[in-house]
Amino acid sequence: MSERVNAGLHGESAMQKQAKVLLGFWIYLMTDLVLFASLFATYAVLRSNTFGGPGGGQLFNLPLVLVETILLLTSSFTAGLLTIVLSRGNRRLVMVFLALTFVLGVGFLVIELTEFSHLIQDGNSWQRSGFLSAFFTLVGMHGLHIAVGLLWMLVVGYQVLYRGLTTAVTRRLRLISLFWHFLDIVWIFIFSIVYMIGVL
């Protein structure tokens, strides 16, 4: 062990910090996927436990599901475009794509909440059966993540407006875009397993 290197004043560069944070956030996303996997496993086990009540075939409004799926997919796409213009440092385009992603995300959430409220009004709330508990929790947990993402976009959007594309703000935009892609990936499985298989 030789003492040839002296540590710099701040110990790490902006690049090192971003690499660290991105890795940490990535690992967090992996943990979130395991969390969703636990909920998926539970849904798979409870999907026929309707306790005499309605199952997916009777409850799901497929056209609406298609619309919200396309909205979310498109918002994941615009989140990707966001990272391209971000690398350019183009503040105006960043705000455009952030706003697009946000609006599409809100559209998704509105449709989902409408679906939920219809179910509840018809007496098919999470209290009715194991199946419905699992449905509301799995889909609702995804919706909760969407809501957090939307709030995050608002906060970062505000920062882009009033602080500009600083290193920190740029980093946060990369993180939210990663988060958003990951949420669409989870939705692929909700769409396929809960809704598509659910109505067969």
């Binding site: 062990m1 004043l9 660290k20 967090y28 943990t31 909920l39 306790f51 209290q127 194991g130």
Partner: protein, 657 residues
């Protein structure tokens, strides 16, 4: 206004009242002492708001020690009850209280003692061993600690305000559902674990990134100390297993608070799914605890045999194998739940397989000792105690991995003896070994060896006396969690022996506390001037003791495995840098306390169904998170002059040796 919280929540039985009173008195005395010696702001500035992992590590250990004492009090209650409650006698506590006592015992020991000591040691040792000053995310580290403290607070609060769970340390439904446990006990259990669990998960991410990204230049993976490999394995397990716990606890909470039917006995719930999920977390959890203990033993055996570790590569391989395999055995915790032979035999075989890499490790340790110059210091004694006890518990485990045999001993005292042997003989002995080994590094003086040896022998003897009877009782048919049994069974004698053993363990703990106190009193005679009392091999021993706040004035460049040992034995004169640079360390902040405080408040509000408080505390949590995350961490600069001064003092001290 206060939901379910009424005056009756504060009314308890006499024994509990004594415990509450005792805790309050100790707390008040502590606060008075702090005020008297004008240490309140010192405590706040130097410890509570610190982001220094060395400080955070010590705080983890402080809470873990407190919870150990509480857990031991439960042990004495359980052992006394079971030693007395035979035939006509019904012991000292009623059945209901007994259920709460063993539930609290298990919950506290696993989640707050074992995990607390683990994260304490990780905070202290991981950064210096890889040549880093800090963990990857210092603020997150603080949040993790305060979430852990919040969970511990809730568990302790349940003693005085309301009740704790009576559903065992894992709260199986349907017993843990609202219809069979209508009180707040299970809710306390859920929320203290949920909050502490999030803290653990965040720490897992933190230490993973630390090991991956913050190693000193030149420290390639195969040059890392084996302890770091074991932490890598353990943290990988944390990161992939704890989300399962979070999900499962959430589902149980949803059943209890929002009337869902995941695990209820009616309306389409499936209680067996809970058992399945909780053990899918639970099995990796025990490996989370044992892997770092294995790492500690690797360090200690190597240093006190004066030899490098035998079979480094196979140790790394074994750690990797255990990490992966620990996700493939979880059903062995519920062989008797009713699965068919194919399922049971698959998991039985996987359980047998996972014993193999562990065996490899034990042989590697023994081969390290062979032809080494073995010094039987206290840490080494704990290692030897571990070899004996862990092997005993391990073969009991392999016995139970055969489903047909497990059907006979599942949920008997044989099982109880097995897992206590593993956790005490493995995890706790590892923690004690690590504590006695690294104590001088962080305090600057050594522990009294003689009292340390007494403590070990009393502990070992007490442990064997406490648990060998339980193995026998289990084979004789004694079920776990019994608060009373028929006199004709002839079990009382063995329970009395176990009680004596437990008392000896308490004496052992008392001796450990005595050891620390005496060592503090005698510290001037046992100073460690060069920071290297044991002739260590790894980087943490290269700093002075106690290390300065910045640990390394200059980040080392690593060229070898056991780099410190190698550089000590090359005759390169100690290189003094021509000039020192200023060093930036994270500034203190109370944000961690605030965030964890709101989280704990949410837990309390949900437990007592104080409805208005839930959105208020949630809003507080969200706002404080947004505020903190919108500003980059602030740093404090230690000037080059200060660094130079401290390094000069350290060098002078070293030259005195």
């Amino acid at each position: 206004m206060f939901g379910k919280l009424t005056i009756s929540a504060f009314v308890h039985d006499p024994i509990t009242n004594v415990a509450i009173l005792g805790t309050i008195i100790i707390g008040i005395v502590g606060i008075i002492l702090l005020i008297r010696f004008k240490k309140l702001s010192w405590l706040w500035k130097n410890w509570l708001t610190s982001l220094d992992p060395k400080k955070i590590g010590v705080m983890y250990i402080a809470i873990a020690t407190f919870m150990l004492l509480r857990g031991l009090a439960d042990v004495l209650l359980i052992r006394t009850q079971q030693a007395l409650s035979s035939g006509a006698s019904h012991g000292i506590i009623n059945a209901d209280t007994f259920q709460q006592v063993f539930s609290a015992h298990g919950t506290m020991m696993i989640f707050f003692v074992a995990m607390g000591f683990l994260f304490g040691i990780l905070n202290l040792i991981v950064p210096p061993q890889i040549g880093s000053r800090d963990v990857a995310f210092p603020f997150l580290n603080s949040v993790s600690f305060w979430l852990f403290a919040g969970g511990a607070l809730l568990v302790n609060l349940s003693l005085a305000v309301g009740e704790f769970s009576a559903a065992g340390w894992l709260a199986y439904p349907p017993l843990s559902e609202l219809s069979y446990s209508p009180g707040v006990g299970v809710d306390y259990w859920i929320w203290s674990l949920q909050i502490a669990g999030v803290g653990s998960l965040l720490s897992g991410i933190n230490f993973l990134v630390t090991i991956i990204k913050l190693r000193a230049p030149g420290m390639t993976p195969m040059k890392m100390p084996i302890f770091i490999w074991s932490v890598l394995g353990s943290m990988s397990l944390v990161v992939f297993a704890f989300p399962i716990l979070t999900a499962t606890l959430s589902m149980l909470a949803l059943d209890r608070t929002l009337g869902m039917h995941f695990f209820t006995a009616e309306a389409g719930g499936n209680a067996m799914m809970y058992v399945n999920l909780i053990w899918a977390w639970g099995h990796p959890e025990v490996y989370i605890l044992i892997l770092p203990a294995f790492g500690i033993f690797s360090e200690i055996v190597s240093v006190f045999s004066g030899k490098r570790l035998f079979g480094y590569k196979s140790m790394v391989w074994a750690l990797g194998a255990i990490t992966f395999l620990s996700f493939t055995v979880w059903l062995h915790h519920f062989f008797t739940m009713g699965a068919g032979a194919d399922v049971n035999s698959f998991f039985g075989i996987m359980t047998m397989i996972i014993a193999i890499p562990t065996g490899v490790k034990i042989f590697n340790w023994l081969f390290t000792m062979y032809r080494g110059r073995v010094r039987l210091t206290t840490p080494m004694l704990w290692f030897l105690g571990f070899v004996v006890t862990f092997t005993l518990g391990g073969v009991a485990g392999v016995l139970m991995s055969v489903p047909a045999i497990d059907y006979q001993v599942h949920n008997s005292l044989f099982l109880v003896a097995h897992f206590h042997t593993m956790i005490i003989g493995g995890v706790l002995f590892g923690i004690f070994a690590g504590f006695t080994y690294w104590f001088p590094k962080f305090t600057g003086f050594t522990l009294n060896e003689r009292i340390g040896r007494w403590a070990f022998w009393v502990w070992l003897f007490g442990f064997l006396l406490a648990f060998i009877p339980l193995y026998i009782l289990g084979l004789m048919g004694a079920t776990r969690r019994l608060d009373h049994y028929d006199a004709s069974l002839g079990w009382q004698g063995l329970f009395i022996v176990a009680g004596i053993g437990a008392t000896l363990i308490c004496i052992g703990v008392a001796l450990q506390i005595l050891q620390v106190i005496v060592s503090i009193v005698q510290r001037k005679q046992h100073l460690v001037l060069d920071g290297d009392p044991w002739n260590g091999r790894t980087l943490e021993w290269s700093t002075v003791s106690p290390p300065p706040s910045y640990t390394f004035a200059v980040i080392p460049i690593v060229t070898d495995r056991d780099d410190f040992w190698v550089s000590k034995h090359q005759s390169i004169p100690d290189q003094v840098p021509r000039h020192y640079r200023a060093i930036a360390v994270p500034k203190n902040t109370s944000a961690g306390i605030v965030i964890a405080g709101f989280a704990t408040l949410i837990g309390f509000a949900v437990i007592w169904q104080i409805i208005w408080l839930i959105p208020v505390a949630l809003l507080g949590l969200i706002i404080s998170c947004i505020i903190r995350l919108s500003h980059d961490a602030e740093e404090e600069i230690i000037s080059a002059v200060d660094v130079e001064r401290q390094e000069l003092t350290a060098r002078r001290q070293r030259d005195l040796v």
